[in-house]
Amino acid sequence: MSETEKKTPAQDSSVILELKDIKKYYPITSGFFRKVVGHVKAVDGVSLFVRRGETLGLVGESGCGKTTLGKCIVRLHRPTGGELRYRFGDEFSDLLTLDKKESFEARKRIQMVFQDPYSSLNPSKTIFTAFDEPLRIHGMADPKERKDKIADLLQRVNLRPDYMYRYPHEFSGGQRQRICIARALCVNPEMVVCDEPVSALDVSIQAQVMNLMKDLQQEMNLTYIFIAHDLSVVEYMSSRIAVMYLGKVMELADSRELYRNPQNPYTEALFSAVPIPDITKQKQRIVLEGDVPSPANPPSGCAFHPRCRKCQEICKREAPQLRPLRSNPDHFVACHLCDTVDPSETPASGGTPKA
């Protein structure tokens, strides 16, 4: 293994955000005194890193914790545990331990676009007001400058600048989503967390918004975290994809690698379940039995084992860790049946070149 491959995320200068063992538990209360009787483990120990300028896709079925993780990253939710290490210049600091002033500054860097463009714009405020407020709060004092900025942003998302005096109801779904994207960009963020940005849109409009997002990424050197349940959309948008299941990351790899060479049986089944709009490429579907278990009462061991075709004894006992594959150190998988690198192995083996 060469030296460069051994770099930890903290040493790799392209890494902008590193998540370490992020957890978000919601208490379940019962009785008169609201006694805590259990937890819904929405996100249960997610560790991953994001490189500058890339798009990291988060996919999974409903209830797998992808949106909760996204909201933890923008700190709309405070994680129950873990570290959110973000790069400020040359240094990393944990977003969760910043003081109020630092936190305010940090918020500018990560913005969010929500799923439903109808409920995420205030119906009683014009587009101008919706954009003006964040600009004012984040220190653009000159009204003329703010107006120019808003006009510029609207043009960037292919809307006419004079639309800024209109109300949200005057726009179609696709236009509203473009407005939401422009609003997220008004404080010049480095990273945008997009939570199902195209799911509420019609197919013909989806393509417009996805193309626009790709263009803006290039122009403004943005880093996206793209959350969606539609695998084709995620594959199209992302450079790397993390597959989530019941609050855990099951597999993380380059998007092409993940499609061609899925290792985790869940990823394999998930990819095979997607209907493909091309009759020359039809394939055999792997149909999973049963439903996703409740995150309040997850199965023992590997969360996927009750539905897994290849389930072994060990899968019922022990939860697998997310580890790199022996054959490809950029391909991470959490499965007992895959040939992964065990960190407890003696470092001596790390020095020997692989065949």
């Binding site: 236009q175 197919v203 349940h229 959309v233 209907p275 149909v287």
Partner: protein, 336 residues
Amino acid sequence: MNENDYVLSIKDLKTHFAVGSRTVRAVDGVTLDVARGKTMGLVGESGCGKSVTAASIMQILPKAGKIVEGEVIFRSKGKEPVDLSKLKRTDKQMRDIRGKDIAMIFQDPMSSLNPVYRIGDQICENILQHEKVSKDEAMNRTIEMLGKLGIPKPEDRVKNYPHEFSGGMRQRVMIAMGMICNPEVLIADEPTTALDVTIQAQILELMKKIQQEYGTTIVLITHNMGIVADMADNIAVMYMGKIVEFGTKEQIFLTPAHPYTKALLKSVPVLGAGDGKRLTSIRGSTPDPSEMPEGCAFAPRCDFCLGDKCNEAPPYLDIGDGHMVRCWLCEGGVKK
């Protein structure tokens, strides 16, 4: 094909809605033949009139909606053909057909099930309405059907209420309710849109299985091109209340002729294409249905618009082997 091979023949169906003083032409001249025992995929974006077409067949339109023109011929096996559009929604004949000969399953299984009745009773009701059988026998048939649809321990589950089922299980209950009287036609209106992909795969496999077993004709309404590619034998593409293209699955996917179909196919990412090729988007958005353009409804968004000619409504042309296209570009049966 013989006329009798078509279980449903819709001719120039027009369903209009009165919204205030305006008229919304939700379905504006749909002509469609549904072959017996096959799956017909009806695709289009939201608001194109695919659900209203289904509701018109079933006569379950909301009060504001009215079938103003056209006919819906239903040819039940061993019976005289009936024109459903001429029947009143409350006619005995219509009520006998609805739920027994033509059944429907809806998109959202939670809001289509009554939350305060047990699952078993809701399914039984359909049998008791249409057949003279005892309650016990109806319940036994219900249990058998639920078992067939992969619901574990159906004899216990019939006593449960809808909230005790997961989304996928509820959709199975909906299918059971539709299939319990062994209908000739099952209309599935976006049956998997509210479900996750792995559950969607289960439901689609299930629908294939019941079609094989019972020989049911399925009309599958969806906006997902992937689902029709997998499920349908014939496909009709709808845009603004009209069918713009109709053909076999091969004709639609391999040699699409209408600019809208072509654009629709190019605007969705294909999983595993992995080439990062830019998607072709369709410019603009769908027009307001109460202010529809006079001629071709797609003309304002069309890259191949011929100008003045497209201000006139294009004819519905056969361009060979039953491949029908509503476009001036295909005039004279030639694909350009």
